[in-house]
Symmetry: C2
Subunit: 335 residues, 2 copies
DNA sequence: CACCGTGATGTAAACGATTACTGTATACGA
DNA sequence: TCGTATACAGTAATCGTTTACATCACGGTG
């Protein structure tokens, strides 16, 4: 590997001059400049990132700690973060597939000194404790973590409102026996969506036996299983609200297999509005979440923090990405 | 930020000892060890990545240079690379949204010293020149770049064979007037798929007026546009082969809008088998590519190279990821 | 002609780790 | 008692940059 010293020797100047030319950080005689550039190009020199960030303590990189997410949602988040980062002149260091506090901290250690800030997405509730152990003043944005007033910027989805809108839609269509396929208990999104489901039904005066809950884990498979179970129940619900689209898709497969018509016999509503939703048959009624806004927002907040030169204490904001009901075919018409 | 020196001072030992404890690189008295660990934890110390990789010249990170790809394909590639990297104990530094030689080189410069190796995906044909300018011996794997015997490991999709299979399928169904919606000319995948299309028709003795080509750019939108154009043609084709699924989806939209039935009036075949394909209505006949195998393979090859301690000259291999026809509803039955 | 500001360059000290080398105490055998 | 092997721990060089400071030549000024 050719270093700045090699270029300096070859060009017959000092390393300082090379650095100045490469960074344009100070005046260098035009003639020298050109010569240095020549030599550098000829030798194929490019500055060593690690060395540079060691001295400047800037990496021009942001890190993202993500759980291993289900399909399209995950991808879309990564992509939007990457886009926003790229746009701001930053690279993206990725670390996915971890749940739980310990793994987040391990990943954080591995990223220390390699990133200028971190986006942490961990719907599982214990992420907060992990983040608390980060050094003070380290730029962090929490994605989809319940962050309340804890001193971090955070971005959350309007899960509760979205779920209520979905359930209210079913109620308006005349459904009185509605099942929900939930996500995992410890998952923040799942918990909020469940809360919305319960509250909406409660307000409508629907009692426990009209509001059945089946547990899933956000995978298509689990939606399928839950629905099979549900089909065996004594009093079959007339509508299913799945905590995400993948499970809704699984549910529809199970229904179709059992010869149950969607939406005539059973209405189905999902959550997320993944791209596939509108291409399904019937097209899936779901709650639209602007996933890429999520990533973009998080990245922008993070870059703000990074650029803020530690200007004392900043108030931390929580931003909410709206979730809006999209009515398509799978919920049917008024019964 | 607390450094190794702070810990050393606080613990009353030298920095060497701290390093030894943290890395377990040499014997340290158990008592000292525990004490150091205590202090380190109390101070919240974690080693500085850049400093570490400066001296060890290892980063435990691989880089990926990707074009801004269309939808699900891109996402799936990233995810599989990330998974494989994570599995091998590596992080992933991402840099997307660049086409062309210049941008690849810029990105490479930015990554120099931050990664131990690079996966370069650039279907656009000029990527090779860029890669050539990388320093000798720098671990690189080319993804979907035509790499022939040029001294790089590379992974490619069996585009040609896949396209032939798709077209032959249409021929067997009795179609004699087949249109292809192509990708951009300079795109390697697109070019190969087009070649397969042409050869298959040629072999079947179909002449130019039975083999029409419309140009697209891999977006749904372009598939839609091309199909509108096609519908206006004098002799309408009875089948459409789109160079990827997104365009096939666009094509189906256009057909449906025009009241043309799929597959009864016009058969449609795509390429890629993105997750959505099987959920469409009718389900899309397409050429399945195991995208995640693509990423996994590339990552594994790269890690091999990295771990190979520069054991002299290694022969470079090109691996081909198979592309297999999946017949679903959109191609219909024999006419 | 002495002085000094200025512009271009060089020198060397960081940055935060790792590690070869050097030391020092202790144990053990002769 | 001495020599020496062993087990720990410290010193300092090193990685490739950036940058404060020093140096130096030159030209203008009084």
């Amino acid at each position: 590997m050719v270093t700045i010293k090699d270029v300096a020797r070859e060009a017959g100047v000092s390393v300082a001059t090379i650095s100045r030319v490469v960074n344009g950080s100070a005046a260098v005689k035009e003639e020298t400049r050109r010569h240095v550039l020549d030599v550098a190009a000829r030798l194929g020199y490019s500055p060593h990132g690690a060395a540079r960030s060691l001295i400047t303590s800037r990496t021009n990189t942001i890190g993202a700690l993500l759980p291993d997410l289900h399909g399209e949602f995950f991808s879309e988040v990564i992509r939007s973060i990457d886009h926003a980062a790229h746009h701001g002149g930053y690279h993206l260091l990725l670390s996915s597939s971890h749940d739980g506090e310990r793994e987040i901290m391990t990943s954080f250690r591995a990223m220390r000194g390699r990133v200028d800030g971190l986006i942490v997405m961990s719907p599982d509730l214990d992420a907060r404790t992990a983040v608390h152990s980060f050094p003070d003043g380290f730029p962090v944005v929490l994605l989809n973590c319940p962050a309340e007033r804890e001193g971090y910027d955070s971005i959350v989805i309007a899960n509760y409102d979205g779920a209520r809108a979905a359930v209210n839609h079913l109620l308006e269509l005349g459904h009185r026996r509605i099942a929900m396929i939930t996500g995992r208990e410890r998952n923040h999104d799942a918990a909020e969506r469940l809360r919305g489901f319960r509250d909406a039904l409660l307000e409508a005066g629907i009692t426990a036996d009209g509001a059945v809950e089946y547990s899933g884990d956000f995978t298509e498979e689990s939606g399928y299983r839950a629905t099979r179970e549900l089909l065996g129940a004594r009093e079959r619900p007339t509508a299913i609200f799945a905590a995400n689209d993948s499970m809704a898709i699984g549910a529809i497969s199970a229904l179709r297999e059992a010869g149950v018509r969607v939406p005539e016999d059973v209405a189905v509503v999902g959550f997320d509005d993944i791209p596939m939703a509108r291409y399904m048959n019937p097209p899936l009624t779901t709650v639209h979440v602007d996933i890429s806004a999520l990533g973009t927002l998080a990245t922008d907040r993070l870059l703000e923090q990074i650029h803020e030169e530690t200007t004392g204490v900043r108030e931390h904001r929580q931003e909410v990405v709206p979730a809006t009901l999209i009515v398509r075919g799978s919920s049917g018409s008024r019964r």
